[in-house]
């Protein structure tokens, strides 16, 4: 859209507002879920994170969850900024610590729906230890991990997810470290819901978010997203559009696939789908059941609204 066109649209919108309420609205459908006073966001043009946010907001809307009881926690990095744009109780924490921070929130007030929204470097690099332990405990968290194969915010350094052979600013001759296969990591540690989509799969991704909101325990959704500024540029892959085109041509949906078989190679097929969807008692359920069994009437669980002591 040209600058001129934008101006026209803005003035039209202003006029429409001046005319008073009408059937059409100038508000974006997901605006109520965003902190509009913080828009424009910091993401680059053709970055995939915005699309994931849109799918997430749509999932919140369509599931009708109580937004007052929903908290979002991010770490540091490009995706780490998501918490800052969502109109929920929002926590922009330290690098790698979104999951343990979220664990504290959930245990401090068990009635909350706690969502962790962060990047691959944050959650599987510096935060990798927390990731595996939260999955092991089946901690009641929904974890959305946007994987763009690179450290974007700091300028394109190697990530634990960078495919073999891909170039990054700290692997200028190509990456020779084996990357994580994140669905396999999550599933093998005990996650009860594991899915992967790309940000081209808008409907399926939204559906996965909705499904995960309705589940309990450690729910993990990996979203492959383009980083045009760094990953695409350093690897001469064109623009974000070209990466979306690549997803279109190379994403293959295989629901129920063995997570061991969903590795991502450089510019190779991306296996998507829902790989794990099981029900197992969560950390809180295990704790409650265990204490009820061992302590009986002596057990006093923390109330759903938390352990705050009132006057």
């Amino acid at each position: 859209m040209s600058d001129r066109a934008v101006q026209d649209e803005v003035s039209e919108a202003a006029e429409a507002k001046a005319r008073g309420p009408s059937v059409a609205t100038d508000e974006h459908p997901i605006a109520p879920y965003l902190r509009m006073d913080r828009i424009p966001h910091i993401w680059c043009p053709t970055c995939g994170i915005g699309t994931v946010v849109k799918c997430f907001a749509t999932a919140l809307e369509e599931t009708g969850v109580n937004l007052d009881k929903t908290s979002i926690v991010s770490g540091i990095g490009c995706t780490g900024r998501v918490a800052g744009y969502m109109k929920l109780d929002a926590f922009h924490t330290t690098h790698g610590r979104a999951i343990p921070f979220a664990t504290g929130l959930k245990l401090g007030r068990p009635e909350l729906l706690v969502i962790v929204f962060s990047g691959d470097g944050d959650l599987s690099g510096i935060g990798g230890n927390h990731f595996i332990h939260a999955a092991r405990r089946n901690m009641d968290l929904m974890v959305i991990l946007v994987n763009n194969f690179i450290y974007g915010m700091t300028g394109g350094q190697n990530a634990p997810t960078t495919p073999l052979g891909a170039r990054t600013s700290t692997m200028p001759y190509g990456n020779f470290e084996r990357p994580f296969n994140l669905p396999h990591l999550a599933a093998s540690c005990g996650a009860t819901y594991v899915a992967r989509w790309t940000c081209l799969h808008i409907r399926r991704l939204t559906k996965a978010f909705k499904e995960a909101i309705g589940r309990k325990g450690f729910r993990f959704i990996e979203v492959i997203a383009p980083c045009s500024t760094l990953y695409a540029r350093l690897n001469k892959l064109g623009t974000g559009f070209n990466l979306m085109q690549f997803y279109h041509d190379n994403a293959e949906i295989r629901h129920g696939e063995d997570p061991r078989k969903v590795d991502i190679g450089f510019q190779e097929k991306i296996i998507c789908g829902k790989f794990v969807d099981e029900e197992r008692p969560t950390f809180l359920e295990m704790m409650d059941q265990h204490y009820e069994k061992t302590l009986g009437d002596k057990y006093v669980p923390m109330p759903p609204e938390g352990g705050m002591i009132h006057e």
Binding site: D89, F101, G104, G108, R109, G306, G307, I309
Partner: protein, 385 residues
């Protein structure tokens, strides 16, 4: 308000410092603990994990100290009072999210049962060498509150104060025990709940539309809203404005950091606490804290028997430091003598405040035990000359 009786184990007990500390936390209303085992602090969480299921508290053993501290900050945002417990090596790891707690203005308490260091050091023996870390450990500018119990009884009593101070000023409070106090067993009297004064989490009275998470005067503390009450607030470790939104500017940084510092500095008189004895007419004043204060008192008694005029300041709150009183005394005495189980930490503060008006003598101890009171007495004699 008065303490919740559920957490208060009223009566006379024979407890070690770690257990007493745990009892203090529960009496203070702490209902979330995230921790990672480390000697010599582990008994604190062992005590708490035994009692918590019966009083509505949740303990979780996290995967490391980075996670423990992050979980504590997260839990505190629900209004649930939160604690973590560690020793030197874990304290180092916690610094990251102690900084986050300072920046987000999150009330919480961090217990450091100090052992000999650096690195793995002397896991089962006493040290006091984390005192500067308690003040300056996390990067950036912030003010700290640190308390130093010298006995199991004080480990209980001061724990209540630690939580109250953390609530009043919305800061992480450092509870600087040491291995000796943590592992010594003495009589601990726990009063009835109605005699324990608790500062409750003060929630904002503003409506959702009016609330700004970091709105406060230059020296005051913002009002708290907890996660799940409908305020849909935003908070961040980045430099932020009153809305809790990141603002990357020197101007916002100045405002943000100045208040983090000023809310403690301007209230220092209310926070500072020390015990003072025999300073009137004294030529030498001892300054000590924690377990070192007990043997320092013995050194003082020996020196007095030898005819010297010696007084003592025992720091109960180490940070903020009792600057005013030390400055006053500096003009009246010959020397300060500072025995501490490190190679010179709080002595630097004494020296700074003495400002050349009185000399300052460090009586160091590398850790692993306590001073010989006779050594302290000798240093007093030398300083008095």
């Amino acid at each position: 308000m008065k303490a919740d009786p559920a957490g208060v184990l009223t009566g006379a007990h024979y407890l070690d410092g770690d257990f007493a500390c745990g009892e203090g936390a529960m009496a203070a209303g702490c209902r979330f603990v995230g921790g990672y085992p480390i000697t010599p602090s582990t008994e604190v969480v062992e005590r708490i994990s035994r009692r918590f299921p019966m009083i509505g508290g949740t303990f979780i053993q996290m995967e490391d100290e980075l996670a423990s501290m992050a979980a504590v900050v997260g839990a505190s945002w629900t209004g649930t009072k939160a604690l973590t417990v560690t020793s030197g090596p874990g304290f180092s790891l916690m610094m990251e999210n102690i900084g986050l707690a300072a920046m987000m203005e999150t009330p919480c308490v961090v217990v450091d049962v100090q052992r000999g260091g650096p690195s793995t050091g002397l896991p089962t023996m006493a040290g006091q060498a984390d005192m500067m870390q308690a003040r300056w450990g996390s990067h950036g500018d912030y003010e700290s509150i640190a308390l130093c119990p010298q006995s199991p009884q004080e480990a209980f009593d001061l724990m209540i104060d630690a939580f109250n101070l953390s609530e009043l000023y919305r800061v992480p409070v450092m509870f600087m025990m040491d291995e000796c106090v943590g592992h010594m067993t003495e009589k601990v009297v726990i009063p009835p709940a109605e005699e324990i004064e608790i500062v409750p989490r003060k929630l904002t009275s503003r409506s959702v539309g009016e609330y700004l998470p970091y709105y406060a005067d230059r020296q005051s503390v913002p009002e708290f809203a907890r996660a799940g009450d409908g305020y849909r607030f935003h908070t961040t470790g980045l430099t932020h404005d009153e809305r809790g939104y990141p603002v990357m500017s020197a101007e916002c940084q100045e405002k943000c950091v100045r208040r983090l510092v000023e809310k403690i500095r301007s209230n220092a008189d209310a926070i500072v606490r020390f015990e003072e004895f025999g300073t009137e007419g004294a030529e030498v004043v001892l300054v000590a804290y924690g377990i070192a204060a007990r043997v320092t008192q013995m050194g003082m008694e020996i020196a007095r028997k030898r005819g010297l005029k010696v007084g003592m300041i025992r720091l109960i709150v180490a940070w903020p430091f009792p600057e005013k009183r030390i400055r006053e005394l500096a003009g009246e005495i010959k020397a300060f003598v500072v025995p501490e189980i490190n190679y010179g930490q709080m002595v630097l503060e004494v020296e700074r405040c003495a400002a050349g008006k009185a000399s300052t003598v460090l009586v160091p101890h590398g850790g692993g035990g306590v001073h010989d009171p006779e050594t302290i007495a000798e240093e007093i004699l030398r300083a008095a000359k």
